[in-house]
Amino acid sequence: MAVTIPRPAAPAAPVQAAPEYGTLPSYRGFLSWLTTVDHKRIGILYGCTAFAFFLLGGVEALMIRIQLATPNGTFVSPDAFNQLFTMHGTTMIFLFVMPMSVAFFNYIVPLQIGAPDVAFPRLNAFSYWTFLFGGIFMNASYFVDGLPDGGWFGYVPLTGPIYSPSMRIDFWMLGLQVLGVASLAGAFNFLVTIINMRAPGMSLMRMPIFTWNTLITSFLLIFAFPSITVGLILMMFDRFFGTNFYYAPNGGDPLLWQHLFWIFGHPEVYILILPAMGMVSEILPVFSKKPLFGYPFVVYATVAIGFIGFGVWSHHMFTTGLGPIANAFFAASTMLIAVPTGVKIFNWMFTMQGGAIRFTTAMLFAIGFVSMFTIGGLSGVMHAVVPIDMQHQDSYFVVAHFHYVLFGGAIFGILGGIHFWWPKFTGTMLSEKLGKWTFWLVFVGFNLTFGPMHFLGVDGMPRRIYTYSTFQGWSGWFGYDWLGWNMICTIGAFIIAIGILTFIYNAFHSLMGPKNAPNDPWDAATLEWSLPSPPPVYNFRVDPVVRSRDAWWSWKRRRQAVEAGENVATVTLAGHELGHVEFEEDHPSEEYLAQEANFTHGDPSTVHIPNPSFFPLIAALGLVTMAVGMIFSYVLAVVGFLYLIVAIGGWAMEPTG
C-alpha cells in the first residue's frame, strides 16, 4: 500500500525573526570573528591558521632541501640550518598537523553527533586564540634572537643553559607550554562533547568512526601532555632558576628529559595519525558505497592503539643504553602495536573490496594514505628490532620512515579530509580535475622526496647535517658531483610544493565561484551531510534521532522505504546491514516530520545560540603575556598573570545568553 507523505510543498514561509543572541550584541564583520564561539567558525579559523603554518613549515623544508641538494651546499649557514630543521619539525607537528586535526574536530564532530555546539564554546575559542598566540610567540623568536635551534625533541644538555644560552630555546619551551594549554583545553572540550552531547539514540557503537578517533585522540592528549609539561617546567627551572634537574655535575640526568619527552612524544605520534585514520575511515566507505568493514574491530583497534601507545616510548631511546630487559620489553610492545594498526589496514582494504568505488580526489588521498602508511608502518616495525634500530638511529632512514607515516599518513589523510568536507565547510565544490592534479603531484613528489631517503639512510647519511662532501657517496652519479639521491629528493620536494600550490589555486577558484554545493554531494553516511552546506549557525533544528550506525545513510534508505511503501525493518547497503528501523505503517510520525525539518532548511530555529564573547581572546592574551614576561621581565609575567585572573573573572560573570 502506497503511503502519501504529507510533506510541505514549500517549507513554511521563512520567518525573518533575528536569531536569539541573548543579552549581548551580536557583532558583525571582523569583530564577529574575534568574538565567535561557533564551533564551525572556530574550525575555519583553526584550519586557515594551521594551513598558514603549513606553508611556513613547507618553505623551511624547501630551504633544507635546497641546502642539501648538492654537496658542500652554501645556501644557508650551519646555524640557520639548525634553526630550519628545528622549526620545520616543531611547526609541522604542533602548528600544522595537530591544529589542523582540531579544525576537523571542531567543524565535524558536533555535526556528526547531532549537537548544537561543543560543550564549552568559549573554552573552545580560548583554545584557538591560545594556539594562535603560542604559534606567533614561538616564531617571533626570529626577530629577537633567531629561531629555536635545539631540534623538535629539544634534548638536554644541548638545550640547557650552558650550551644554549640564547633566548631561542626560551621561546621554544615557553611556546610549547602555551600550545599545550591550547591542546589540553581543546581535548577536555571534545571529550565532554562526545561523552555528553550525543543525539538521542547515538550509543558509543553507533558513533561515526571519525568521532571515535577524536575521542581516543583527546584521551591521549590529556594523558600525554602533562608529561612534557613537567619536562618543560623542569627545563624552564633549569634555565631560569638554576635548578639541577638535567645538570649532570650535580647528579641530574639528561635521560630524564628523554623519558618525559617520549612518554609524551610517542602517544603524540598517535595524536597525529589517529585523526587522519578517522578521516580515511569516513572517506573509504562513502566512495566504496559500503559500510566500514568490521566497524567494531576498527573501534577496538583504535582503543588498543591508544593504550599500547603509552607503553612503547623507549623505542626512541634504544641507543641510550637502557639495558637488555628494557630494550626487549619496548621492542615487544612496539611490535605489538603493529597488530591493531594492521587490523585497521585490512579493514580499510576489505571496505573497498567489492564496493562500487568512485575515484574522487578524496578517495585517491585515502587510498594513498593506506598504501603509504603501510610502507611507513613496515619500516616502523623494522625499528622495533633493537639491533636494526641501532644501525638506523639518527640516519636518513628514520627521516624516511616518519615522513612516510606523517606525510604519507597524517597529511594525506588531512588532504583527503579537506577535499571530502570542503563542500560542507564552504558551500562550494572543488574542481575534481585540479584535485586529481593535486593528488598525483603530491603523491609522485612525496615518493621522490622520501623514497630515496631510505637508500641514503642505509648508505649512512646522518640526520641534521647541514652539508656533506663529494666523497661520501651520497651524490656523484655519472661523474656529476651535483647528481644523486639528494638531488632527486630536492626535486621531489618542489613537486610537492607545486601540488600544494595547485590545491591553493583550486581552493581560491572554488571560493570565488557560486555557492552551489548540495547538502550531500557524495551520498555520504554521517549526519553532517544531512544539513545544508554550510550548515546554519544552530546546526540542527531538533535533535536528530539516531537509530543505527551510519545514521544519514540509514535515514535516506528509510525515507526511500517510506516513499515506496515497503515494510522493511532492516536497512541494508550493498548487501550489508546498516541497522534496524522501527517502521510506521500508516503515516509518517511526528518524529519523522521533525527530522525532515532538519534536512529542509527553512525558517530559523529556536535553538539556543551562545553569546559571542571577547573574553577568550582577552584571556589568551594574558597567557602569552606571561610567556613573554618569563623571558624579558618577571614583572611583566606577574602583570600577565593578574590580567589573566581578571579576564577569567570577567569570563565567569559574563552571561552566556
Binding site: 504529507p6 510541505p8 513554511a12 520567518v15 549537537a115 548544537p116 555546539d117 560543550a119 564549552f120 564554546p121 573554552l123 577536555f188 571529550l191 565532554v192 561523552i195 555528553n196 552531547m197 550525543r198 547515538m202 590529556i222 594523558f223 601532555f225 602533562p226 608529561s227 609539561t229 613537567v230 619536562g231 617546567i233 623542569l234 627551572f237 632558576f241 638554576g242 635548578t243 639541577n244 634537574f245 650535580n250 647528579g251 641530574g252 640526568d253 630524564l256 612518554i263 533544528r541 531538533v542 511526528e590 516530520l593 521533525a594 525532515e596 525539518a597 529542509t600 525558517d603 530555529s605 529556536t606 539556543h608 577569567i648 569570563w651 565567569a652 560573570m653 559574563e654 552571561p655 552566556t656
Partner: protein, 225 residues
C-alpha cells in the same frame, strides 16, 4: 496539515518543561556553562562535573610525572643535606593531618548546601579554607627552615626536586583556597542557590584530589626511607 514550525515547537516543549523549576542564577553563566546544559546530557552527568573529572585525570599524570622525577632522583643527590637529615616528620604529619581534616569539612559543606543550610555551608567552607591556609602556612614555615639550613631550589638535586614537587602541590592548594573563598562570597551575596550543590561538589572534587595527592607525596617524599 501541520506546519513544520509547529512540529519544531512541540518537539522542544518537553525539554523546556524539564527545567522549568530551575531558578535562574548568575552561575548559569560562569566559566564553563555548557551549551544546552539545561537539557539532559547523554550520560546524565553534568558536563561541568565531567570536565572536572577529566581535568583531575590529566592532573594525575602531571603529579605522576613530578613524583616520578622525585623518585628517579631519590638518593642521587651529590650534595648534603639528605632528606632524612632535614625532615621533621612529626611536624609534617600534623600539617598533613590538618589538610586531611579539611576534606571532612569540605564534605560537611556539601552536606550543608544539600540540606539548604547556607549558614553552615559558609561555616564549613571557611573552615576548609582555613585548614588549607594552615597547611600552606606550615609549608611556608617548613620551606623557610630548610632555606635557613642551606637547602634551596639551586642547592642540590634533592632541593630542586623537593621544592618543585611540594611547591606545585602548594600552588594547587592555594588555588583551592581562593576557589572556596569565592564560593563563600557567592553564598554570602545570595548568588549560590540551594538548588546548586553542583558548584560545591565540583570544588570539592578538586579539593579532595589535592588532599589525596598529598597523601602520596607525604608517603613518597617523607616516609619512604
Amino acid at each position: 496539515m501541520v506546519s513544520i514550525a509547529h512540529e519544531v515547537q512541540s518537539a522542544h516543549a518537553p525539554a523546556h518543561g524539564a527545567h522549568g523549576s530551575h531558578e535562574p542564577s548568575v552561575l548559569d553563566g560562569p566559566l564553563s556553562a555548557p551549551v544546552g546544559h539545561h537539557l539532559p546530557t547523554t550520560t546524565g552527568l553534568d558536563s561541568r562535573k565531567l570536565l572536572m573529572w577529566l581535568f583531575l585525570a590529566s592532573d594525575c599524570m602531571f603529579f605522576g610525572s613530578l613524583i616520578g622525577t622525585f623518585m628517579t632522583y631519590k638518593g642521587r643527590s651529590l650534595i648534603p643535606p639528605s632528606p632524612h637529615e632535614i625532615f621533621d616528620i612529626p611536624y609534617t604529619s600534623v600539617s598533613a593531618f590538618v589538610l586531611l581534616m579539611s576534606s571532612l569539612t569540605m564534605v560537611l559543606a556539601l552536606a550543608a548546601i544539600q540540606r539548604n543550610d547556607p549558614i553552615r555551608l559558609r561555616v564549613w567552607l571557611i573552615t576548609t579554607a582555613l585548614l588549607g591556609t594552615v597547611f600552606i602556612g606550615g609549608q611556608y614555615y617548613e620551606f623557610h627552615v630548610f632555606y635557613q639550613e642551606g637547602l634551596n631550589l639551586q642547592h642540590s638535586l634533592f632541593g630542586s626536586a623537593f621544592f618543585t614537587l611540594t611547591g606545585f602541590h602548594g600552588a594547587h592548594v592555594t588555588i583551592g583556597i581562593f576557589w572556596l573563598l569565592y564560593m563563600t562570597a557567592l553564598s554570602w551575596t545570595g548568588r549560590l542557590n540551594a538548588e546548586q550543590p553542583l558548584f560545591i561538589e565540583i570544588a570539592g572534587l578538586y579539593w579532595h584530589f589535592v588532599d589525596i595527592v598529598w597523601i602520596v607525596i607525604f608517603t613518597v617524599v617523607y616516609l619512604l626511607p
